[in-house]
Subunit: 263 residues, 2 copies
Amino acid sequence: MKLIADNLQVTHYSLKKTIDALDPLPIQKLVKKAEAQGADAIDINSGPLSRNGEEKMDFLVKAVQDVSDLPVLLDTVNARAIRAGLQANRKTAIINGFSLEPDKLKNVLPLAKEFNVDIIGYLLYPNGHVPPDSESRLNVAVDLYNAFLKCGPAKEHLIIDPVLVPVMWQQGGQHARDVLSVIQALPDLLGFPVRTIAALSNLTTGHHSRKQKILLEQTYLPMLAAGGLSLLMLNIFHAETVQTARVCTSLTGNGVFAWNDVT
Amino acid sequence: MKLIADNLQVTHYSLKKTIDALDPLPIQKLVKKAEAQGADAIDINSGPLSRNGEEKMDFLVKAVQDVSDLPVLLDTVNARAIRAGLQANRKTAIINGFSLEPDKLKNVLPLAKEFNVDIIGYLLYPNGHVPPDSESRLNVAVDLYNAFLKCGPAKEHLIIDPVLVPVMWQQGGQHARDVLSVIQALPDLLGFPVRTIAALSNLTTGHHSRKQKILLEQTYLPMLAAGGLSLLMLNIFHAETVQTARVCTSLTGNGVFAWNDVT
């Protein structure tokens, strides 16, 4: 299971100024820290980038890739900014992402084919809503896959995100269980070992103490890992959670378990 | 997922004297502490009880049940001691347990029918060895179930233990993964919602610090819970692990997630 840092959130007040000033240093500092903590990829969550989106994404991709060889995820709803990011990319870029929403199918998905890159597909209804149960999630997965086959690159470039929701939602626990069963079911359903991704921080959105967040993360993460999740997006500065991820990788890997691999 | 305390190990030096002297107080103190920590049942691990086994098991069951209403597991290889425990039992007793070993089939399994109680069946070869992979574990499960149908009580009394081994064994990680897939496969394989049990402390046998043991337990436990495990045997005084178990129960239960249920 690869770990993707969700910490580069450019909408966050501490980074907002640096992008307006096109100052790469605070971003690069954060990226290097994330890499040191064990990140295998960096999600560039740039927000909508409604003003000067292309220029800003170009700046962000270059800022990150100037100091890191890790793959970057281009995480914005702005298709033109994604294109700019793909053009700026000199290493590995992943589009994050598309769904059955018409605008995404029309403007984002074709970019994956044009640039021949991985793309994350969200199991959401065309109106952006979260399906209510496992069965409807799997139905959406079939629709999403069919759309992908029409306009996307080779199927191996598809990564599916079954969409975690906050556990504090009325049906939060049920959603968490559904996500697990969907992750397990997808490879058989689609007929190939499709990769999956989940955003762990979504689970703990809401009123939890840091300790509670960590405990929830450390508990749900192994369930995802045992279910066969390929990629986990998380707060890479939650060191306890990262350590749990390492134990999971050692337990679910093929090698002999050894603490040296974990700590 | 119900929690069974594995702490009442009468072979342990601190308790050995009390059983020789038939002094119930240290045992009762430990049982009450285990119950306060969240135990749903108490495993009476008496060792082989080769000398005065019946008298000692009688004493142990009465000592526990004098201070607790929790179910007790009669955990010994001595069939006569198990019988004595079942005769002494005034509340709920579970036999722990039998396997395909000829002596167990002949002398232990029939006790479950005679006393109409739950019994744990271990997925072990007739020679007591651990099967090397998932498929052989499932083959053993079928043989065990057939033996149970011949000489056991109603099938709902069967609880299957797929046998966790230390993660530090050469194939320890593989065994841990196999146990998960076996737990998930058993209900379909046997055609009814058979209950399963795992002994978490087995996983961390060997050279680990307390911190490492807890981390391993907290990581593997959610995998077991997500796999549908019914009963977990563990060191109930590992408070962090118990808390993880509570989060698992809240996440995998039907209710709304609430920290009040956890902490």
